[in-house]
């Protein structure tokens, strides 16, 4: 067979000459210019974007035959529960571990473009720094306050219905898909701008999760003050991309409406001097 490119050796599956082209937006580090490189990767059964990236790491040769550095990406669990491998696959943000090549091909894709998430600073290639996201969760006090100097005893009794409502909110893995797809969530190069910029759906949903927790509700007034400030829930533009790209199918738009309602009531109570 002369069709196989000489510069792109196929280590396995010679009887399976089918390859898929990957176009990858690369960047050598913060502040460095982005560039595109393309790779032909043999399609193996059950392949996903991560396994293809592993193949490229082992064979870092572009379609022009130029030897390059292995593409850097971030990943952890490889089963869509950690959110680390989130990137843009063909323009759409998602976890690369569950981006199965067979499914992409079935959807009529002939090329796979990989880009880093668009709203976070790139560390290198497909690896981004989501520190701002975690910082916003801290600002939201997204925790149950139980630390202290004495034993608080058993928590309040839970109704199964309340627990069930909160369960789906608790499945958020801070992947950031909802932020990347949000037309109101802005990329901030300067960390000084973080507290002026919209926090996005995931943080708002976490505020709802911990406000609805019987013990977590102790911090509800502070969380709602945070939600009423600049960058809070009122900066949502109702494009509702968040709920459509969420891999955990968290009802993010319901959380946004619920927090919008809670903040309105909170502010009206504050106006009339009623304690929340």
């Amino acid at each position: 067979m002369t069709t196989a490119p000489v510069t792109n050796p196929q280590p396995r599956g010679a009887q399976r000459p089918r390859t898929i082209r990957f176009r990858i937006e690369r960047c050598d580090g913060p502040g460095k210019p982005a560039r595109w490189e393309a790779f032909d990767v043999p399609v193996e059964p059950g392949a996903n974007v991560i396994s293809c990236l592993q193949w490229i790491a082992a064979n870092p040769v572009t379609i022009e035959g130029k030897r390059t550095t292995p593409v850097v990406w971030d990943s952890g669990c490889l089963e869509e529960v950690c959110g680390a491998c989130t990137m843009r696959v063909n323009g759409r943000v998602r976890q690369s571990c569950t981006a199965l090549i067979e499914n992409l091909l079935a959807a009529g894709v002939t090329e796979v473009t990989l880009q880093p998430m668009s709203k976070f600073p790139v560390v290198r290639d497909l690896f981004v720094d989501r520190q701002r996201f975690f910082n916003d969760l801290k600002r939201a006090k997204a925790w149950v306050p139980i630390d202290g100097t004495y034993n608080l005893g058993a928590g309040p009794r839970e109704k199964p219905a309340d627990q069930a409502e909160r369960y789906v909110l608790s499945t958020c893995m801070t992947c950031g898909c909802c932020l990347d797809a949000c037309p109101q969530y802005k990329k901030e190069e300067d960390a000084k701008e973080w507290d002026q910029s919209f926090v996005g759906a995931a943080v708002i949903s976490q505020v709802r999760l911990f406000n609805e927790h019987p013990t977590g509700a102790a911090l509800k007034p502070e969380r709602l003050d945070f939600m009423a400030s600049i960058g809070g829930v009122s900066d949502c533009g109702n494009a509702q991309n968040c709920v459509k790209v969420c891999p955990k199918e968290i009802p993010l738009t319901e959380s946004i409406a619920a927090i919008g309602r809670a903040v309105s009531i909170h502010r009206i109570k504050q106006f009339f001097g009623v304690r929340d």
Binding site: P183, P221, P251, G260
Partner: protein, 266 residues
């Protein structure tokens, strides 16, 4: 003392961020949204007046003139205009443009219907501001140099002067008239969309519709409201566009004539 939150920092806009956002949402519904509904129902009377009373003596023109006369009989009309309309519209427009400038539309990668409405809401806002300014400046403030044919709209000849301003000529429709009429068609259509979609998002903003099912149901109601208003808006523009100004003026003159003088038919 409970959880004393730090006083908000920054400039006036930042310190009152939430209040301004909510006032922006509120003014869009009341008074601006309510006014738009009344305005479109009034102006489409040139068509529904005709349908209700038949063609005898141009019932459409008569009904419309009757509605305009009622509005102009309101006490302190200028005060109502300034505080009920111009200031709320200016507030909603200025803040709306400021907020819309924070948008980073991404419809190519996320071509969902909701996302298209998000982008269209902002585009319709921008165009709506231009359209309302042109509309009020030409017809209310008398900037006739921007009117094709230079007609001055008057409340006594509401239908005929409006038809002139849309047509550009008494017996003919000029190119400039056609362009203005097309701008009206686009302007009112976008504003009706802006209101219908704004009613849908306002319900989420204020937390009236929390569940996705409630948002969907309210969306259907907003669609119906929008469709009804669109019908009114289009019939108003087309109604005045196709009106014969000379005939309309005769109807208006007849209505202006003192009723206590029988036999003095003008």
């Amino acid at each position: 003392m409970t959880s004393a939150s730090a006083p908000p920092k920054g400039n006036f806009l930042d310190r009152n961020h939430y209040l301004l956002r909510r006032l922006h949402s509120l003014t869009g519904v009341v008074p601006i949204g309510v006014f738009l509904i009344v305005h479109l129902v009034t102006n489409s009377s040139v068509v529904w007046g005709l349908l209700a009373h038949g063609d005898k003596g141009h019932a459409g023109v008569e009904t419309f003139q009757h509605e305009v006369n009622f509005i102009h009989s309101l006490p302190a009309l200028l005060l109502i205009e300034v505080f009920g309309l111009w200031l709320p519209i200016a507030f909603h427009s200025v803040l709306g443009v400021y907020y819309a400038m924070t948008a980073r539309p991404n419809n190519k990668d996320y071509p969902y219907q909701d996302n298209w409405r998000y982008t269209l809401q902002r585009i319709s806002g921008y165009v709506g501001v231009l359209f309302i300014f042109y509309h009020v400046a030409t017809l209310r403030w008398g900037w006739t140099f921007l009117v094709p044919g230079g007609t001055q709209w008057t409340a006594e000849h509401a239908a005929s002067t409006l038809a002139m301003a849309l047509r550009g000529h008494e017996t003919d429709v000029t190119l400039a008239g056609l362009m203005v009429a097309a701008f009206y068609m686009a302007g009112v259509s976008l504003l009706v969309f802006h209101l219908a979609n704004g009613l849908w998002t306002a319900a989420i903003t204020w937390g009236v519709t929390v569940s996705a099912a409630a948002q969907r149901r309210w969306g259907h109601v907003c669609l119906l409201i929008g469709a009804g208003l669109m019908l009114a808006a289009w019939s108003a523009v087309i109604g005045f566009m196709t009106l014969d100004p000379a005939e309309a003026r005769q109807v208006e003159l007849r209505m202006l004539a003192p009723e206590s003088a029988p036999g003095t038919d003008p």
